[in-house]
Point group: C2
Chain length 296, copies 2
DNA sequence: ATATTTGATATGTTATCCATATCATCCTGG
DNA sequence: CCAGGATGATATGGATAACATATCAAATAT
């Protein structure tokens, strides 16, 4: 049984006239008659009653008609669905991000634009540490990820682009005397209790800030390590200590927390978009196109 | 898009190996590769990821697989359903019957046997007058009918078979003095109020009984005409009069009604099975085979 | 390094499908 | 009642598509 034959059958069943049906199918009448005969032979059942020049459906034909329509419609639906996936208009995309990313301007904008452009794609958002993202990206259990720079041996298997560079700000409690200043040199923090990113999870920021402090002439007195940037804000508000955070953390309004720029220039952290090298799925290509077009 | 290609695709998607899939499909490997390529071209999407010697499904392929299975399964279901109808194991059958038929031994037995033999056939039962049945049978809005003999010009377009011949009994009220007798001659009813079948609806019985009475030497005093036999029983119970009914009306047990055989022999009524001449649907053929096999 | 496996390519053969031409039958109108 | 038109079936040749055998290129395994 062939989809073509089913289509032919439907045409004849609807027109109840071989000639008209053939015209509608853009073929001539004889092959249409033959195809119907073949179908009937194949099924072992007469589908049409040929009484003189008037034809009508048999019981078997009446049984087949709606079923044939169904099969054809679902074949058509399968085709368009597959093509949508092929064009990246449908499908699924798993997106990783670290805790600070939702507060940056870039990730919300990318998500918004992509969702509007490709509403058929299921975006799965997963808050994951930088390391987890890298591991899952290489293992292809994650399609694309937002995180900040770090060191990782698997990074070379990934493609990365900087999508935003934002300054690091000093976050400290309003009660701290230093909070009255407009800006501060890093060295002013030499005696302050320091909240720092965990060495194992946020290697990049940990190392970057340690290096900055050493360059400023002191080793920070680390009183707490945290995994994610937003956590820091809470700790600062609780008076645990001071910290360096990305500028977009200012989005988090917590009473008692003051953000101050550093005197030093060029102290900043990048936000990266990363995905695995090699052939990208259509949905991923579309996502990258939108995400990267906004960072020119 | 072709059902064959979908079948091929499913095989490759399940085996993830062109060679094994080809063996399973009983074709050689090259045409299988070509068919998959053709399908991919047709859809404009890659369905398999050919990384070296290991192939895997693309997103589009994963989208297609369940849909292809569905289309194929439904095509298969359509095929078997149509063949079932073709063999008369399925489909619909409209059966007409007059009010007295459910009380005869023949109709319940035929229905029971047919339902057991062909449970897939939808049997629509319609209580219709003899005349309506004949008209609908010729118009092919009824497939087959049970009724008693009658005269009708359309009858010649129908095929009829006698499936049961049952005696006519006298039905009268227990209070009637005649009810004490074991049997009665028809002439004994000469003075009794007579309930008769309607001339217009049950022409056959009407004429038959009138003729019998005349032969017995009297014209019945008709006090009531009815359309259906069971109605008579109620009227007899109510003391309206006496009537001649088929023997199977004894099935209806109503207090006060007595059934007596006639002295005359050979006073009987036939039950007919009727259907339209010409090619019968498979379901009808099977029904007739069962109905007629029981009346040998 | 070599043998084996695997999917792609090349080519000839066969089967299928379609179009033109024609036929048989039925219906319609004069 | 008969001729003409209409309708579906049949016959036949040509184009297309599907298949098998043979072969190749690349990757994996021993």
């Amino acid at each position: 049984m062939d989809l073509r034959r089913l289509r032919y059958f439907i045409a004849v069943a609807e027109e109840l006239h071989f000639g008209r049906a053939a015209r509608r199918l853009h073929i001539s009448q004889p092959p249409l008659s033959l195809q119907i005969q073949t179908l009937e032979q194949e099924l072992g059942v007469a589908l049409f009653e040929r009484a003189g020049h008037r034809i009508s459906l048999t019981d078997a034909g009446r049984e087949l008609l709606p079923r044939a329509r169904l099969v054809l419609a679902q074949a058509e639906a399968a085709k368009t669905a597959v093509q949508r996936v092929g064009r990246g208009e449908s499908g699924a995309l798993e997106l990783g991000f670290t805790g600070s990313l939702p507060f940056t301007p870039v990730m919300p904008r990318v998500l918004h634009d992509f969702r509007r452009a490709y509403p058929g794609v299921q975006l799965q958002l997963r808050e994951l540490s930088t390391r987890e993202q890298i591991e899952r990206l290489t293992a292809e259990t994650l399609d694309v990820g937002f995180f900040r720079p770090t060191r990782h041996e698997l990074l070379e298997q990934l493609e990365t682009r900087v999508v935003l560079r934002e300054p690091l700000l000093l976050a400290l409690h309003a009660d701290n005397l230093l909070a009255r200043r407009k800006r501060l040199p890093l060295a002013a923090l030499a005696q302050e209790p320091f909240i720092l990113y965990s060495r194992s999870v946020s290697t990049g920021l940990h190392d970057q800030i340690l290096a900055l402090c050493l360059k400023a002439g002191f080793a920070p007195r680390i009183v707490q390590e945290v995994h994610e940037m937003p956590t820091i804000i809470g700790l600062v508000a609780a008076g645990v200590g001071v910290a360096l955070v990305a500028a977009s953390m200012r989005q988090i309004h917590v009473p008692g927390v003051v953000f101050l720029p550093l005197v030093e220039t060029g102290v900043a952290t990048d936000i990266l978009l990363a995905w695995k090298r090699g052939p990208a799925s259509p949905a991923l290509r579309n996502f990258l196109a939108i995400a990267l077009s906004q960072t020119k």
